[in-house]
Symmetry: C2
Subunit: 409 residues, 2 copies
């Protein structure tokens, strides 16, 4: 039987324990929602102060050159590349995940002109399906939606693109990125991977898996701040063929020539559209310092251990109280979160947040707990389960205030 | 003959003179590039510090509710609406100008299904033409490009959309927004106005002009910071018919229901795509405080006076030195900038910047000077002309360093 003392011992032995001090976390709060908004790395405010007071206020327009604002999308992209198994010059930071998804879906469709289907997954994050649906409409393709377990079987000779999220936002269920990519390629299709729930939480190894395209956001496990800019990956072998539709001037081969004809940049810059969101980029870039010297295998090992501990304690304390496990039990099939289902999940989560244990709720009944290995401790798992147990056992959730509290996140 | 003392007297009598103190400007620098990147309002760093250290770090995910992050795109949009003659609920802040342009061009094309041409202007800012070209390709339309003076005559019964920038980025030439809109409507076309070089620099009066759609950026005369998020305007009468293609979850009627089918929000929210770039939004929102209590008619009057003064002094001092006027002489046809042409413009501008007078250069020979009336003074115009005169007269620009200096802006 695991004890809190054993959890504390695991923390003492944790090779990533020192990373927690890299974050500015509120005292007395357990934060298990880094899969929605990552915590703030402590170095961000000083970097932002410099960006505002020196670079913007005093450098003014000159900072596009002198403060290296102009190459920031490429530079930050190269840093993210190292976290997702991509090469230098294959990743760039731009826009939002949704916008980047539109770009790569259209580009990929154009690379398979004889095929008229986009294959999506029914339970994928809604934006991914909405965007795929819009791309299908604009390109004259059919949108096919398969259940998670039927995706691979649904790839046929008419499928141009398979659009999937590596780790499901709701259940934390993880696809075998390498195997699905291999099967899609065998059938002649391209794959677009959404890495929102995996980048920064585990090794991804895009190139080892021969991935084609990927997108992902900067504000979850990468800790880039609310609404941080997103990233897009294009495998080098595809770059020359990629024609994305959001042809803004920053994707041009020579933006400052201001030519009338659009000529895409030879490299990953062609995925850019408008002027880069510098303040968001600067926050994201400085946030990535939290990964300095961190081995992503250690990150994954701790993520698995935290998830396994959560499930073991939930088995012992919560399942008899009406909770069920909504994530895969096998760590190899999970991302870095564990979801529980409970019919009163909404009010329970509100009561839990009131006690400064922060997860989130996804309709209709999912309590979602994300484990960001750089700052979540084993004792946090213990204390969260204890709080959940107490809230459910004592009906502490059962108040009008908790049942009706408005929350948009 | 105007003197520097007279310029100082104009500053002393300027009803907007007090606004200059709202900005953090570097000592000894004359900044005439607010049409590229607006200066930093002095209140931004404190607001950003609060957003980082309180809202993100300690509020964490709760700040989407508790710090009113979620409604920021609408709230900031409503503030910008007041500066461009739009109503509440007609403007929202999102993405970049280029991305928003793609959205409205596709949406507008869908509203005129029988018409198969998009009419653009050959000398428009390149992004606008690139994006129109991409939209034309994706929607099966023809892209027609007319010279500036031929645009109105080119509107025929096959034109679905006229896509124009209110004030030209290079020459500062301004269209008659009301008259062009009227003529387009007479021919059954819709108009998309790019307000990048007019929002915040003059009254725009979108609704009085019966405008259909507009887009614009947050980082020029609105002073929102480098790469600030952009805005998009849709006239209320069109909202229900607008189907834009970047169907991210934040444009959904009920984003947090996570439904499989995309249902556009009933209001301006349907123009949203992904998660809002909060740090950029917060900077932009606090920057807009610089307009508190400011009458845009005063802004325009000062802008005209600064431009007229610049031209008068340039006539007297610079035209005999190889400069020509590249902007309309009549204030009624100008925006808030004056451009000069000189065959050695690139090196001259580098020499000018070296003396802390900051304008910018646009190929092949344009020296561009923007007058942001909230912080540019009459004496700044005097001193800029004096510096230009000295640089050209003494050949101070004619060095290898100035001729070959690398600049991306």
């Amino acid at each position: 039987m695991t004890t809190r003392e054993q959890c504390a011992a695991l923390d003492a032995a944790d090779p990533l324990a020192h990373c927690r001090a890299r974050f500015d976390l509120p005292a007395g709060t357990i934060y298990l929602d880094g899969n929605s908004l990552g915590a703030m790395p402590a170095n961000v405010p000083a970097r932002m102060k410099q960006a505002l007071e020196q670079e913007w206020a005093h450098g003014l327009i000159r900072s596009w050159n002198d403060a290296d604002w102009y190459p920031a999308p490429q530079r930050v992209g190269d840093r993210i590349a190292k976290l997702i198994g991509a090469g230098q010059g294959e990743v760039i930071v731009a826009d939002s995940t949704s916008v980047n998804l539109f770009k790569v879906l259209v580009a990929a469709t154009r690379m398979r002109p004889g095929r008229r289907a986009i294959l999506a997954e029914r339970t994928n994050f809604p934006t991914d399906v909405y965007v795929a649906s819009s791309v299908a409409e604009m390109t004259g393709c059919e949108l096919r939606c398969a259940e998670p377990d039927d995706v691979v079987a649904a790839i046929d000779e008419n499928v141009a693109i398979v659009s999937l999220t590596h780790v499901n936002y709701k259940t934390g269920k993880r696809y075998d990125l390498q195997e699905v990519t291999r099967r899609a390629h065998e059938a002649g299709a391209l794959v677009v991977w959404d890495l929102c729930h995996s980048a920064g939480a585990m090794p991804v190894d895009l190139n080892r898996c021969e991935a084609d395209f990927a997108v992902g956001c900067g504000y979850k496990y990468l800790n880039g701040g609310p609404g941080a800019p997103a990233f897009v990956f294009v495998a080098t072998r595809h770059l020359a063929a990629v024609r994305q539709p959001l042809t803004g001037w920053h994707g041009h081969a020579r933006p400052f020539d201001f030519t009338h004809e659009y000529v895409p940049h030879a490299g990953i810059d062609r995925m850019l559209t408008g002027t880069a969101p510098q303040l968001g980029l600067i926050a994201l870039e400085s946030a990535l310092d939290a990964f300095d010297g961190v081995d992503l295998d250690d990150v994954r090992a701790k993520s698995v251990a935290l998830g396994d501990l959560f499930i073991a304690l939930a088995d012992r304390e919560l399942m008899r109280l009406g909770c069920t496990l909504a994530s895969p039990r096998e760590a190899s099939r999970r991302g870095s979160q564990v979801s529980l289902a409970h019919k009163e999940g909404y009010a329970i989560m509100q009561a839990l947040i009131e006690r400064n244990v922060i997860g989130d709720f996804r309709a209709p009944d999912i309590l979602r707990f994300g484990f960001a290995p750089l700052y979540v401790r084993y004792v946090d798992i213990w204390d969260s389960i204890a709080a959940l147990k107490d809230i459910i056992e004592t009906d502490a959730w059962n108040t009008e205030a908790f049942r009706t509290r408005k929350s948009v996140t």
